[in-house]
Symmetry: D3
Subunit: 318 residues, 6 copies
């Protein structure tokens, strides 16, 4: 049996969507292995937050919500499970009471995936997690970044801590993990700590598209800019769900009104077909503030979007 069949998701005609154990998009729960092309990984870490908390429960909630996702993409027609082997690799090891140990554990887990040439799609966890993930994935070569977010995450510190949900972009730039020339931050908005919250990214050479910019230029132009900046090199995509308006994603740690619709994000992610997606995450889902479950549902759908474009990258690179 080919790997892609071995790990194929459960058939809803045999096991109803609501039945049996929940895995990401109903793929097989497997340990990391060389025959896996793309691995979903939960990263239930939430010790990097300075306001509300709760994302430690997101991997479980998104696994449940992803029961509803089917096999084939509605726009591109891609069926990722026909292109490559996709599995649920469980959760990266975290220590719920020890931030440093967790960061080390996450980094080690993703380093193992890098060594196995598995492209990871992570579900956070708070938005601290790109830091340990990039330390693993981008150790040898800086990656371009598409960051969809309401906050720039370029602060130097928060309450005196250097690694938290508001600093991943600055840490990654400082550590040479992120190539600013191939990096886009999009959707930025919301009240700021100081007038220059955004300047670090701009000065470092990133392309910054605030929500105001986005609205002014239109989605098509924004997508064109994203495509141009990201170029042909390796790309890591990070989606903080607070980039999406809280009517669609209320279950998040630091909601900011006036943001993207899920449709916007879907179309942006779909435009990544052809890019060399080497990893991705969907972060900041906080299920305890999500009584209707639509935040987890949105995250699950975004995992599918990310999966489809990553599967195309896998397929192209064989």
């Amino acid at each position: 049996m080919a790997p892609r069949d071995r790990y194929a998701p459960v058939d809803a005609a045999v096991v109803p969507r609501f039945a049996d154990v929940a895995t990401f998009l109903r793929t097989v729960r497997a340990e990391p292995a060389a025959d896996i092309d793309i691995g979903f990984v939960g990263v239930p870490f939430d010790l990097g937050l300075n306001y509300r908390t709760g994302p430690r429960e997101a991997p479980a909630a998104v696994r449940e919500a992803s029961r509803v996702i089917r096999r084939v993409h509605p726009t591109s027609g891609v069926c990722p499970y026909d292109l490559c082997a996709v599995a649920d690799l469980g959760d990266a090891p975290v220590n719920p009471m020890d931030k440093d140990a967790s960061l080390a554990g996450i980094e080690a887990f993703f380093a193992r995936l890098r060594d196995l040439a598995i492209r990871p799609i992570a579900i956070g966890g708070d938005h601290t997690i790109p830091t340990p993930i990039l330390r693993a994935l981008a150790k040898d070569r800086a990656v371009g970044i598409l960051q969809i977010d309401s906050h720039p995450d370029t602060l130097d510190q928060l309450c005196g801590t250097k690694v938290n949900h508001a600093t991943f972009m600055r840490r990654g730039l400082e550590e040479g993990l992120i190539d600013p020339a191939r990096t886009v931050q999009i959707g930025l908005r919301g009240s700021r700590f100081s007038a220059d919250d955004l300047s670090y990214g701009v000065e470092a050479g990133c392309t910054v598209i605030t929500y105001d910019d986005y609205e002014a230029m239109g989605r098509t132009a924004a997508i064109e800019a994203i495509g141009r900046v990201l170029g042909d090199g390796p790309v890591y995509v990070t989606l903080d769900v607070d980039g999406i308006d809280p009517a669609f994603c209320p279950g998040t740690a630091v909601p900011e009104i006036g943001g993207f619709t899920p449709r916007d994000v879907q179309v942006i992610l779909r435009s990544l077909a052809g890019k060399d997606i080497v990893g991705a995450d969907v972060s900041e889902v906080a299920p305890c503030y999500d009584p209707t479950g639509i935040t987890a549902l949105t995250a699950a759908n975004m995992l599918f979007e990310l999966l489809c474009v990553t599967a195309l990258a896998v397929d192209r690179n064989r």
Copy 2:
């Protein structure tokens, strides 16, 4: 007293909106009778679902939510209660543990309305219900359909069953109840079971406007296409609330992100003024997933939109 006065809704200045028994839009609860022009009918059937369930509670929830609807349409100025006699006809008979008996009961109830020349506006129930309704209403002549939905409902079967919430369109086309040349499916999106989920409708001759198409062509052009395709013949309108984005309608069985706003649907339904609306339904409301009640509220508002354009049809046909 004229029928339209006999069945006129309760006056909120006399009985406050929150008071007394809830009926659809506060109309009189009446048994079907020849002097009624338009009848609201609950169809609390939910045995046709393969994921989440709960629409059996929708007629009750929408009756409650409809307390807030007033008498006059804000855009057209139509007051349907001045044009015709409108009543709440109660719920079609269902057996909560017997799918086939329920389907027969629903069909018989709507056949009775057809015989009385009452134009029904149904509130489901899951999206199985157009099948028995159309078997009653379109027995003698195929109708055009406006289907607002995220799913095409043209599968041949689901888990081996032929009549369920994903097959009404195929059954109706097969049985000659639906005229494909005067049928529009709009809003389709969401991951698919297979790459050709949509092809049946297209090949049968229906006009299919996916959400991607809708966004590309714009609302005005879409409405123009709907008007052209539906033409002058009898039209049945079916609104699956999962056609609307789950931020606006979280309380539904199979939510799909990235869809219509209620505003979109309002404007589309308003464009039906002048069409010969012979029946309609609003389906897939699942109150148990609707903690804020906005799904039921949206459904109630859509009943009023449907009522206004149907009242115009009644008035034109006197």
Copy 3:
């Protein structure tokens, strides 16, 4: 590695409770096999309900809620995983739109467990499920029953259907699956369809302890009666969570006020140590009416109670 180690639940000190895939009490998800002594089985069936619905989601919700359960019983000191091999066997096959097919599938699944000598602990599903389970487990010899419930489930039919959530006890007695002389119905209360709703069980020879009786005699005497009636033969335990007061279990299909506390039920179940428990179920959890999750939490705890006394039975029968 001994079977009991092979299937041992995940250690919370290694994988935090909130992390990774959810299985019942964090046991290993395994296919039925001869080296398994006790198997948890989800039965996501809810086509037998005449009021609210939703228990199809209970196995998923209870798996999630059971993340919090530890290894050792607080009163008896029993660690079931030291006594026998316990696994999560997934969900029995159901067809969400076909009641008869589902009943057949459930029966076949439990027949397979019987043939493998696995003692099943089921999580429903609505309270129809003891019927197919007993048809499998009690095919060759009638079992004694401990039914904890607010309703007697001895109706002959409901809306003309014979197998539903209100008839399992009558069907089981009629079919010779249940030994009335070793059967106790406890907790019965709530308004009735007719004055003789309870008489069938009494006349059949079951021991009926209404909630009024329970309060009058006290818990100690009730437990003594249960022990005496159940005797030494094989016993099946069925817990309808509506037996518990809805303040503790709001997430259920047909709530009845004025019932047991979870403490009552814990103490009753603990008294079954020494009985030959051959199977059990916890039914009628409806997660969509359980916004705080305490119903699923209670069910998860009751699974642990049932597991401990069943493990003692396994251990005694080696």
Copy 4:
């Protein structure tokens, strides 16, 4: 057709519990008439509250919740619909923005029922409503009162207003509507405005049983005292749901922890068989704080308890 049949509640075997329009206990919605013995009346008034508000929605919510109540009492075997004619009389007229007009409207409505010899069972509304109800019912002769409540409602004023949810008992005593010698206040507890909040009732001659007293004397003794004090004369029963512990009735305006279970209240109300119940109310349900619906469910069950003992009174007085 006898009145009791004319107004008989809908049969759940024909119209499922979840179907059609909701009335109190599924009785017929009728205008007050001389052939009705007992009438349910909604009183959606909530302008008398000094903390949280919302009881204007209670009649609607309790009508919905009462769908689950069956015909026959589980303990007494009474079927009230066999003993007398019971109907849902709609809601007393209130003006949602005018407190005085509402109080006058409520009083007039209940005066009409008194004149028709209909015994009313009201569902509030806040606990102001016994004042206008008693002004109607007890105009000609003082009644005994059973007040189940956490608060004594004997304040002279609240924020300068004399008629509000904390004063009905004092007003009724002052106005000669209440016979203190036949009055019991039970369940009183919770922090107080001043040390003598309770003294007015005691000094007026009422029997005051605090929750401390209740626990000390036991339920049996309390019921004995209630029976003795109420005697044989006309009795009005008022249940403020905050008398019940907020775990069971969270949806209330002023919750007080540490109170009755619904079981306690059921048994107390059942003890009223044989009393001349001339009216009753269940008040202070606030649906907007009741996400699980158990408060409305509890209220609906208590209406059934009150109905059964009132039906016995009707039957005895023919």
Copy 5:
């Protein structure tokens, strides 16, 4: 210490956002004083509603939600706390059971602020509150109004009452408090009591932009019209959150589907930079219908928008 420093909001780097007592935007809770330029005022009044109620809890809920707002505006770069002294002045005095006393108390409180030259930003309370506020603020000179709302609030009465949540605009025009030539009503939509609900404002000379108009003309043109009509004189801004679509603001008394996004309102409010904002309110937040808290969150963000443009007005007028 300068007043603007004395009243400066708490620094989140010292006191985390979730910590300590909640005030509006974390400003200092202070009594009205002459050195305060802008004062936030809660107005917990909700006795003017004819449908759902609950806004008395809004000031508390919005204080809590406003913990997340930072110091600097993302688009304009304005830091209001650098421009002027801003404080939380507590709540205007209301009597929860006496409408007239409350209206008098509110008017007196705002008159005191007027006398101290404090520009108030109020958080309602239902949409009755502009009436007493304008009676205080506009006593000496009529103000221009920007009303963002789904309802025109130009009824003459509701259930016979003249001052309530649907009449402030008519009362203000009648009493000469509002200058119609400098007044815009925007966002109007929703079913109407009668065909001429909107005509009063139009005939009085106000500029009425229905939601249909808004969509047709586009946001830029609408903003241009607002700027032109409001002109250079004193402006009062009133935001009824039901002007915003209920997906974004479900927690409101009378939700109307098909409305503004928060983004729309943000951009409109931002366009007021340069106007002489003399007061403002955000009304009709009903926390008990807001389980996700996004309505209160949206209101808190709108307070910040209003604060920034008012601070510019203060700064310009020194």
Copy 6:
């Protein structure tokens, strides 16, 4: 003005309960000062949890819930505000992303209170917080402890960390802060990590009353034992709300079914009148799992119980 008047809580007859800024029990928000006898302190720390999180929001939620508490105790008649000066001292300093810094900050804050002779009543925060509090309060002399809890909190470590929500009792005993001879642990229950989870406390000399013991001995005997063990020396009371059954306190991090009612805890706390209460905490409230607010309400009431018995201690020690 006497200190007890200076800090007296707001009068609900002047400022309605729902109005203005929320402080604990409506006392004055003040900085620690020598004229304050008892201080409420929020401790929004939740970095010590291994399952669900969220207690950082508890101080805010309990402040809001405590709006409903009045001035006088219903059973004892004590008005604490007449006996001593009580204030809300704000929240102890925590760093939401740095556990060690938070623990140091909390200890320092409580040391300051000790130096000012203020008796603190803390609201956690997770149940780690007794460790830093006792390090401050019991530095010079060991205290007796009344721990109401479902878990013993005597583990040596959790996931390798020594200070967390499951270890305070062991740390306190090891560090000589707790006098085991005057310590009672009551309410212990729930599944265990190992058979000897409880043995540490027993072997150290604490009095351990499991929930089984409590039920067997009865509340009166348990209270007698508590009184005897605590004796006359200084006592610290710590209430983990998971000691209370989750039907009453669903909003907690690690719920355990089958526990105390709030009534049980009220009566136990009331029995402490006469003890030398030197400090107390109510911990583990997690508002994000508390949709009805009853957990915060219960905690607020328990603060009042603790306040009353502490006020008696203050009064006795003058």
